[in-house]
C-alpha cells in the first residue's frame, strides 16, 4: 500500500530503513516525523470507488488526484464490484473517461444500461443519500444513458438528453476554456467562484449535448432554472462561446460542457479535470520556467473531497 505524499514518502522511508508495516505500527505513530505528517495532512477513512471496465482510461489519473487530496481511491472492475464489493461502503463514486466496451451501439450505452440493470438500485440509494457521483467524459455519457442525468422529472420520456457526434465530425482533443455557471447547487464546484473561467482539456468524438427536440426549450429552461448547468464552453475572456467553433468544440446546445442532477450531487462533464490536476500537466508551463503546483482540475476534486466528509 502506498501512502501519501506518494513517491516522496516512500523514498524517505526506504532511506531510513522503515518498512511500510513499521510506519503503521504503534511505536512509530508517536515519532515526531509521523506526528508532523499527521498534522499536515490527516489521513481519512474516506473511500472513493472508481469503476473500470474494458476501454476505460484515466482511471489511474483520477486515483492519483484523489490520493493527492488524502482520500483512499480504489479502481474496481464493475464485475468485481458486483461480485465482491458493496457500493455503499464508499463515500463517493467516479465513472472515468474512455471508450467503455468500445463505444459499441453508442458511446456509453452498454455500460450505462449495465449499470442501470445490475447496479441501479444500489446506485439510486447512493445518490438519494446525497453522496457524490462524478462522470467524466465517457462517464458523463454513461450517466446519461443510465438515466441519472439530467434527471428532470418527466414520466413520459425514458431519456431526456443525449451526447452525440461532434458537429465537426472529428475527435476533438485539446484544451478548452470553461465558464463556471453554477449558482451554488453543485457539490463539485463548491469552492469555485461563480463565473470563474477554468482551463481543462477535452478528448471526445461524441460530446454534443442535445435535448429531446420536441421539448428542447422546456428542458433547457428547466435546467437553467434548477441551477443544473455547471460548465459552459467559453472564450478565454469568459464570454460564452455561443456555439462558435472552436471555443465550443462539439456544437453542444447552450455551450453545455457539464450538468448536474436536480440535487447537485451527480455531475457529468465532458472535459477531463484529472488531466489538469497537477501544474506539470498544463500545456504551457515551460514558458514560465517552473510549473505551478496545481492546475484548475484540482478545484473540482477538492470540492468533491470536501463534500465526502459528510458521509
Amino acid at each position: 500500500m502506498v501512502l501519501w505524499p506518494m513517491e516522496a514518502s516512500a523514498d524517505k522511508e526506504a532511506r531510513n530503513g522503515i518498512t511500510q508495516e513499521a510506519w503503521r505500527s504503534d511505536e512509530l505513530a508517536s515519532s515526531s516525523m509521523n506526528r508532523l505528517r499527521f498534522v499536515a495532512k490527516p489521513p481519512m477513512d474516506l473511500k472513493v470507488c472508481i469503476i473500470r471496465v474494458g476501454g476505460t482510461n484515466c482511471d489511474r489519473e483520477t486515483k492519483r488526484a484523489l490520493e493527492d487530496l488524502g482520500v483512499k481511491a480504489e479502481v474496481l472492475h464493475l464485475t468485481r464490484l458486483l461480485r465482491e464489493g458493496n457500493l455503499l461502503e464508499y463515500q463517493g463514486l467516479v465513472i472515468p473517461g474512455g471508450f467503455s466496451y468500445g463505444d459499441y451501439i453508442r458511446a456509453g450505452a452498454i455500460l450505462g444500461k449495465q449499470i442501470a440493470a445490475k447496479l441501479g438500485r444500489e446506485l439510486s440509494t447512493f445518490i438519494d443519500d446525497g453522496r457524490p457521483v462524478l462522470g467524466i467524459c465517457n462517464g458523463f455519457q454513461v450517466l446519461i444513458e443510465a438515466g441519472f442525468l439530467p434527471g428532470l422529472r418527466d414520466s413520459e420520456a425514458i431519456q431526456q438528453a443525449a451526447l452525440t457526434t461532434n458537429s465537426s465530425a472529428r475527435y476533438e482533443c485539446r484544451w478548452v476554456h470553461l465558464l463556471h455557471e453554477n449558482r451554488g447547487k453543485c457539490l463539485f464546484t463548491s469552492i469555485i467562484p461563480y463565473r470563474r473561467v477554468l482551463r481543462i482539456p477535452i478528448g471526445h468524438a461524441e460530446g454534443r449535448f442535445v435535448l429531446l427536440r420536441e421539448k428542447e426549450k422546456e428542458y433547457l429552461d428547466r435546467l437553467i432554472e434548477n441551477d443544473q448547468i455547471v460548465f459552459r464552453y467559453c472564450m478565454p475572456d469568459g464570454v460564452a462561446a455561443m456555439g462558435k467553433y472552436p471555443f465550443n468544440p462539439n456544437g453542444s446546445i447552450y455551450d453545455i460542457a457539464g450538468v448536474c442532477n436536480p440535487s447537485g450531487n451527480v455531475l457529468g462533464l465532458m472535459p477531463h479535470p484529472e488531466r489538469a490536476y497537477f501544474g506539470w500537466q498544463l500545456p504551457d508551463w515551460t514558458r514560465f520556467g517552473k510549473p505551478p503546483a496545481y492546475g484548475d482540475g484540482r478545484l473540482i476534486f477538492e470540492s468533491f473531497v470536501n463534500c465526502l466528509r459528510r458521509f
Partner: protein, 87 residues
C-alpha cells in the same frame, strides 16, 4: 416462433448528422454530384424466439427504445421475418 429480425437505427430528422455530411462531401470529391442528404445509421441483425408475432414486435419495440436507439435523437424501424421450419 423464430424470427429473423433486422433493426435500422438512424438519427432523427432535424438533428444534424456530421458523419452523413462528411460522407456527402467525400462523395462529391469522387465526382458524384447528384447525391444529397446523406444520413448514416446502423443495422442490427438478430434471431428472436417469441410465442407470437405480436409479442415479438412488442419485445423488439422495447429493445429498440431501451437500448439500440436513444429516443432523444434516434429513429428506429425493424423488420421481422418468420423463419421457416420443417414440419
Amino acid at each position: 416462433m423464430v424470427f429473423r429480425v433486422t433493426v435500422f437505427v438512424n438519427l432523427k430528422e432535424g438533428y444534424s448528422d456530421p458523419e452523413g455530411e462528411a460522407t456527402e462531401k467525400s462523395l462529391r470529391d469522387l465526382g458524384y454530384d447528384g447525391i444529397h442528404d446523406v444520413r448514416v445509421g446502423k443495422i442490427y441483425r438478430m434471431v428472436l424466439e417469441a410465442p407470437s408475432r405480436k409479442e415479438a414486435e412488442a419485445i423488439m419495440d422495447q429493445v429498440c427504445r431501451r437500448f439500440l436507439a436513444n429516443p432523444v435523437k434516434d429513429d428506429y424501424r425493424f423488420v421481422l421475418e418468420e423463419e421457416w421450419k420443417a414440419p
